[in-house]
């Protein structure tokens, strides 16, 4: 789910870079407010590399297989480091694998990274709203929400961007219907990504809870 070079107009690419610049500035500002921001850089960097590598894993759903995006999980585990991590991961993908592109890096980072920050805040809601639920249920439930919403928002942004900017000459109603249909087709994928995130968060909570303090 990357937008490649040459597909969308340069104005959209420039707007993507502007949004990514602002969100990076905001994320770095939040990171710099921590007591010792440098202490978390190695952790965030190695986890960035691990997420980048893990994004190559496919979940077999016979007769096909599903590629995980993991942006919601990144938000849940890395907090404000998720946005820079996604930006770096996409930069690696554009240069090393040819996925996405350098002119569309800003758009792709905003498309994946902002939902990751939303997922982080959703996951943090467990501390307030989740008080009434048993610990594991709150943890798993909000992790599921973070993973599913992270993917869902990214998919929606991707579809809206691609369908409205490709010079296809569709009318507004057709565009709306295509976006709606394709978005609904992604609901099962959101459920898989959410379930994956919830299982992983419960696993980490059991064996290394400090990893979820991001």
């Amino acid at each position: 789910m990357h937008i490649p070079d040459g597909l969308i107009p340069a104005q959209v690419c420039a707007a993507g870079y502007a949004i990514t610049g602002l969100t990076t500035w905001y994320s770095l500002r939040q990171i710099n407010r921590k007591p010792d921001p440098t202490a978390e850089i190695p952790k965030a960097s190695l986890l960035t590399a691990a997420f980048f590598v893990a994004s190559s894993i496919y979940v077999p759903v016979p007769p096909v297989s599903v590629h995980l995006i993991l942006n919601g999980l990144l938000g849940v585990v890395l907090g404000y480091f998720a946005f820079p991590a996604i930006l770096i991961g996409l930069f690696f993908q554009a240069l090393m694998l040819g996925h996405g592109g350098l002119t569309t890096l800003g758009v792709n980072a905003a498309m994946m990274g902002i939902p990751a920050l939303v997922a982080y805040h959703l996951f943090n809601l467990r501390q307030g709203l989740g008080q009434v639920l048993p610990d594991r249920v709150a943890l798993g439930g909000f992790a599921f929400l973070g993973g599913a919403v992270g993917l869902g928002l990214s998919t929606l942004i991707f579809l809206v961007l691609v369908i409205t900017t490709i010079p296809a000459g569709f009318d507004v109603d057709t565009e709306r219907q295509v976006v709606l249909t394709l978005s609904l087709a992604h609901v099962p994928l959101m459920a898989i990504e959410g379930a994956f995130t919830a299982m992983l968060v419960l696993f980490l909570h059991r064996v290394k809870p400090e990893l979820l303090e991001g």
């Binding site: 990357h2 070079d5 040459g6 990171i31 850089i41 980048f52 979940v59 077999p60």
Partner: protein
């Protein structure tokens, strides 16, 4: 995961190889954005020629380009197959219900040429500049310290973590993962096993990061005036005078493309 080693051709001696990294980044970046702006069919040939000319000047083998275009071409291929048959009103050929439309064909042509031309410039950048030098050049152009350090550290451990994952996946396969009889739909057990695989990978990386951090602190990371310690800080070898000529030439081409595009779209 097919991570491409980017440093196979960076030792060349072509003019593009000797182009100072910061100027190369600015020049090629501006040209990429100029290419992305192109909407006029008349500009397609010039941008393809500029990309081909620069690729020729870099001395990189054609096999590198054809090999690396293979995967990213898939998404574009899907767009190219669909657009000429779904977009536009002017039918130029018809086979039963299937109609080839001029507007769709033009849109597909624009997308393909822009895509290949921009990607070629990206390959020139990566193929002629070591990855670490690219990051240093970006740092010199104002990339924030945290982003530069994260990029360098993530790159340093990327291949190691990829090897870790490959070993873990091989162990899983040897224990029978993936050999169960296939049933349609998603299996809860499979998702759980994959979640634990990724969880273990994150754990190993996290534990390694703690050791790395301690080693970095012992070497002074995070100390110094204004907490400015940055990994891999290096000197840019910007003494190549012809590099300025190349930069001016490339920027002039970018400006010309944008000017022609604007003039044609207004007129």
């Amino acid at each position: 995961m097919a991570l491409v080693s980017s440093d196979a051709y960076v030792q060349g001696t072509s003019m593009v190889h000797r182009w100072p990294p910061r100027l190369k980044l600015v020049g090629l970046g501006a040209l990429m954005f100029a290419f992305a702006m192109v909407q006029q069919m008349v500009l397609l040939l010039p941008i393809a020629a500029i990309a081909a000319g620069l690729y020729g000047l870099s001395g990189l083998p054609l096999s590198l380009l054809s090999h690396r275009l293979r995967y990213p071409g898939l998404f574009i291929a899907a767009v190219v197959v669909l657009l000429p048959f779904t977009s536009g009103d002017t039918v130029i050929a018809q086979w039963g219900w299937l109609a080839l439309r001029q507007e769709g064909l033009e849109a597909a042509g624009l997308i393909v040429v822009r895509f290949v031309s921009i990607l070629t410039l990206g390959f020139i950048l990566l193929g002629t500049t070591p990855f670490l030098t690219i990051i240093q050049a970006m740092r010199g152009l104002g990339l924030p310290k945290i982003l530069a350090d994260m990029t360098l550290l993530a790159y340093r451990y990327l291949y190691e973590i990829a090897e870790n994952l490959a070993t873990m996946q091989q162990s899983m396969a040897l224990r029978g993962f993936g050999h169960q009889p296939r049933r349609w739909g998603v299996s809860r057990r499979t998702v759980q096993q994959l979640a634990m695989l990724v969880g273990s990978l994150l754990l190993r990386s996290y534990e390694q990061s703690e050791r790395v951090y301690k080693a970095m602190r012992l070497r002074g990371y995070g100390y110094g005036p204004g907490n400015q310690a940055t990994l891999g800080r290096g000197n840019a070898n910007g003494q190549f005078r012809a590099g300025w000529g190349l930069t001016v030439g490339v920027l002039a081409m970018a400006v010309c493309i944008v000017a022609v595009e604007v003039a044609l779209s207004i007129g």
